[in-house]
Every structure is written in C-alpha cells, then in structure tokens.
Point group: C2
C-alpha cells in the first residue's frame, strides 16, 4: 500500500491526469501505446497506493468574486497554542490554507477575500480576535504568475 514504485508509464498517466482528470483512458492508451485496460490497472494501483488522492474541479476564484488573495504570517504568544489556533482559523472560510512553519512566523496562512474591505474585516473581526495570536503580517498578492504542481 505504501511504497509503490512508479515507473515511466505511471508518470505519464499522472501528468496527463493532472492536466485533465477526465481524459478518456482510451485516449491515454493510444498516446502511450498501451491498452485502455492497462491504463485502468495503473490508475487503480496509484489510487490504492494513495498517490492519487482524488479529482477536483479547479475554479476561477476571481469569477466567484474573490478578487483579493493574500498571505498572512502569524506569530503566536506561545508555541503550544498552535493546535487551538488552527482549529479556530479553520472556522473562517476565508482561510484556505495554513502551514506550520519555521522561520519568521509560527503559522502562515493564505486568505481569499472579495475585496480589501472584506480582508480588513477578516483580519480585525476574525483573525485578530484569536487570543493566542500576538501579531500578524500581511502580504497581498497582486499576481500569481506560476501555479502548478510537482512533476512526478
């Protein structure tokens, strides 16, 4: 289950499905010169191994009115408050990612909001109400020129 060593065919399939999860197996089969059955077997194996976790549609956040993307570095009063703080942050739907980091900040989060006013609201009325947080530092993202995944 855990350590399935993937070969070149698996990598090719992964790459293709990372671009389009609904690509027909028959098409991949033709492209990689194997049969559709083989594609199916490989996909199932990678699912079993946990390499492929699932399929998601990617949405354009801007089209849904989320115009502002920013990162916020969070400093905690005490490191032990970390689990509680994550639990609280998770309740705010604007917080889409959180990382526990070494370096300048204790927690590093990615926040999506509809506007700068909305961001202010989230900062003041949501994030900074969390007791354990000592200070925050905001980095507003103006552009996102690179957005991809790791290459298998």
């Amino acid at each position: 289950m855990n350590n399935y060593q993937i070969d070149n065919l698996d990598k090719s399939i992964l790459n293709a499905l990372m671009e389009n999860a609904r690509a027909p197996y028959a098409e991949l089969a033709k492209r990689f010169n194997v049969s559709a059955g083989t594609i199916h077997v490989r996909v199932e194996k990678m699912k079993q191994a946990g390499i492929m976790q699932g399929t998601r549609v990617t949405i354009d956040a801007k089209k849904l009115g989320y115009d502002v993307c920013c990162f916020i570095g969070v400093n905690l009063k005490h490191a032990r408050d970390y689990p509680d703080t994550i639990e609280q942050l998770e309740k705010f739907e604007e917080v889409v990612e959180a990382y526990y980091t070494t370096g300048n900040y204790s927690i590093f989060i990615k926040v999506m909001t509809h506007s700068i006013e909305h961001l202010q609201d989230v900062l003041i009325n949501k994030i900074q109400t969390i007791e354990a947080i000592q200070s925050t530092e905001t980095l507003i993202s103006l552009q996102n020129p690179i957005a991809r995944e790791v290459t298998p």
Copy 2:
C-alpha cells in the same frame, strides 16, 4: 460570458465537484432533486463562464518523494526585474507557485523538494544564481493542516 450570476444549485454542484470531479451527474441530480440534464446544463454554463476551469487529479506529493515544502520570500534589486525573474524561476520545476506581493518581499514562491539537501541545492544552485535577486528568506513548512479552496 463574463458575469454569470450563480445560484444555489450552481453552488451545490460546484461544491460537490470540488470534492470529486468524477461524481456522476445522475447522483448529483438525485442529491439536489433535479434531473441529470439540468446538472449538465449548469455545468456547461459554468464552464462557458470560466468559473470551472478544468479538472485535476490531486496527488500526494509526499508519496512521490517530495517531503519538503517551503516558502521563500524573494527580494529583488530592482522592481523592474520582476518579469525576467519570474521567467527564470519558472524553469525550475521545484518552484510550484509564485506570487507578486506587496509587503516584505517582492516575490513570494512555494518550493517542493525531496529533502533538505535538495532544497539547499535549489536555493544555492538555482534560485540564488539569478542576478536580479538580492536576498531570500526561507520558511520551511512542517505541517499543512488546512488545504482547501474558496467556498462558492
């Protein structure tokens, strides 16, 4: 094409497909008490409007040997070097995301590597060889407790 106002049904469909892009339309239809044809029409509309951009399989980077995730704040010597720098960063497959930001850093990137040694290699032999970069600051991510998308 641009400003398609989504309703509650659209939101429900989006939410479902964000969790599983291969969910059968018939199943969604049953769940939301509409017909499969309606699901199809809505999905097509949202595709046309650019709200749904595509489908991706989500992969477990750790299972592919990418154990180290980190963020690197990059400072440029001159702001005008931004486009060139992005172009160069894009060539390094370890750089999976890049943001042009206001605040402490000019560019903020997310980097995935196989190990700390690999990260060092990327930093020294790839990123810091870019002329326009004045300094970098690394935040290593130890955990990623929140990872989701915006709620429609």
